[in-house]
């Protein structure tokens, strides 16, 4: 586990919408590095949690602190389940998120596209890419902003297996060591492959938080056991 000052602290975080509580009073201390996977059934509140971390949603109460200060949106990059692609070339999509385009950044963009297997398509209209290629582009676009924290909301949910493999390989080999990753999935096998720690959410409550090894070998709650055995999804 990370030391105190590298942890992400979540204090009394809750989120309501139209009188319905979607995330109940949550207190957590998460690793400041590695991959934290949010697991849970559909509608459990995983995406809400992730959007609260990015700042896309404002909590009804509570706070999120990283390295002693507030978790600013500036240090985060968010990749959603549905890839958002601008109607322009692949390379222009990459450069759009930059405040200033320098020759170094252009070179980095091309390198990232190459790592994502998109180097031959940099001048192609990004709308014509396959679903997997679009998601790989979104991931590369997130990385070029050099975020401290990368938040991925089921990025491989609707894409072809080879793109899933490429993304997972890239996250494990190139990203994990240099930045914090939050990853939402309900694919247990994917969680086993990626996770350093697991946050298990059930009906808007974090009911289990442990290292991936502990979670899969010795789940403490009945819901987690049922989830791992595939009885709830």
């Amino acid at each position: 586990m990370a030391s105190e000052d590298t942890q992400i602290r979540i204090n009394d975080l809750s989120f309501d919408i139209e009188g319905k509580t979607l995330l109940h009073n949550t207190n957590l201390s998460l690793n400041g590095d590695g991959i934290t996977v949010f697991l849970g059934a559909n509608g459990a509140g995983k995406t809400i949690f992730l959007k609260l971390l990015t700042g896309l949603l404002t909590p009804c109460s509570g706070s999120i602190n990283f390295q002693g200060g507030s978790l600013s949106v500036k240090t985060c990059a968010f990749v959603s389940q549905e890839p958002v692609i601008l109607r322009r070339t692949v390379l222009k999509n990459m450069l759009f998120v930059l405040e200033k385009i320098t020759s170094e950044k252009s070179t980095l963009a091309k390198e990232l596209l190459s790592l994502m297997g998109l180097d031959k398509k940099e001048h192609q209209n990004a709308i014509t890419l396959s679903a997997g290629e679009k998601q790989r582009l979104c991931l590369a676009r997130a990385i070029i902003t050099n975020p401290e924290i990368l938040l991925l909301d089921e990025p491989t949910a609707n894409i072809e297996p080879n793109s899933t493999t490429l993304i997972e390989k890239y996250l494990i080999q190139k990203v994990r060591s240099s930045r914090k990753i939050f990853f939402v999935t309900h694919d247990i096998n994917q969680a086993r492959r990626l996770a350093d720690e697991i946050v298990f959410i059930h009906t808007g409550r974090v009911i289990e938080h442990s290292s991936a090894e502990n979670f899969f070998e010795n789940p403490k709650t009945r819901e987690a056991r049922k989830y791992i055995s595939g009885k709830i999804n």
Partner: protein
């Protein structure tokens, strides 16, 4: 029936031999339409994009008023602009009444809400897809508005086309503020009204044919652009 066919043949003669009076009327029509649509697009497209992508206190009221203004009666606009620019009006000192400039102003008042509202509708749907992405990357407001316009450029050509259609076929407002003065403010629509009332059907019909041809050519051009875009992007507009 005989009168119509004779007028039709005679009008074709006027078009084919490029009658100087006809040419003058056509060119003025195109000039007024060009400037009215250009000004309306420069103002209306960014305004529509801004309204579609921004939430502020009286946004819905502003949008409702603009949508209401889409159906402004041209003669009322003409009367309003006439009063404004007449000698006793607050802008009378400019001496613009019965000039092409005031005709452009009247047309801008008519076209601007159309351009703005159609842009609003197009960009609002794009905004639902993009806004979370823009927020998560902290994209500046101006940059995001430009991105909305650039990314909906092919849909916006239809908006411009709607503006051209409204402008070139408009008669009620420009006949009041322009006065339909020969060689000064006479355009195709006002000329058709006048020549028909005078019984000069060949010139009226010739102008009508040119109006129709202009509309068909413009529509065809826009459809060609859309088709080209669909072919290269594989996107559905």
């Amino acid at each position: 029936m005989n009168d119509i066919s004779e007028a039709f043949v005679s009008s074709l003669g006027l078009i084919l031999f490029l009658d100087s009076e006809l040419l003058e009327i056509i060119l003025l029509s195109f000039r007024i339409t060009f400037y009215a649509v250009l000004i309306s697009s420069i103002l209306g497209i960014p305004l529509g994009a801004f309204l579609a992508s921004t939430h502020f206190k009286f946004r819905n009221t502003v949008v409702s008023v603009l949508f209401g203004m889409m159906g402004l009666p041209p003669v009322v606009v003409g009367l309003f602009v006439y009063l404004l620019f007449s000698r006793s009006g607050s802008l009378g000192w400019m001496g613009l009444l019965y000039s092409p400039t005031v005709m452009i102003i009247a047309q801008v008042i008519l076209i601007l809400p159309i351009v703005c509202c159609l842009t609003f509708q197009i960009i609002e749907s794009l905004h639902t897809r993009y806004h979370e992405f823009f927020r998560s990357y902290r994209i500046a407001k101006l940059k995001s508005v430009i991105a909305y316009i650039v990314d909906s450029r092919f849909e916006l050509t239809t908006v411009v086309l709607a503006g051209i259609g409204r402008s070139i076929s408009e008669v009620g407002a420009i006949i009041i503020v322009g006065g339909n003065i020969d060689h000064v403010t006479r355009v195709m629509t006002t000329a058709i009204a006048l020549e028909t009332s005078k019984g000069n059907l060949d010139l009226a019909l010739g102008l009508g044919i040119i109006l129709l041809t202009t509309a068909i050519v413009l529509n065809g051009f826009i459809l060609f652009l859309r088709g080209k875009y669909l072919k290269t992007s594989g996107s559905t507009i």
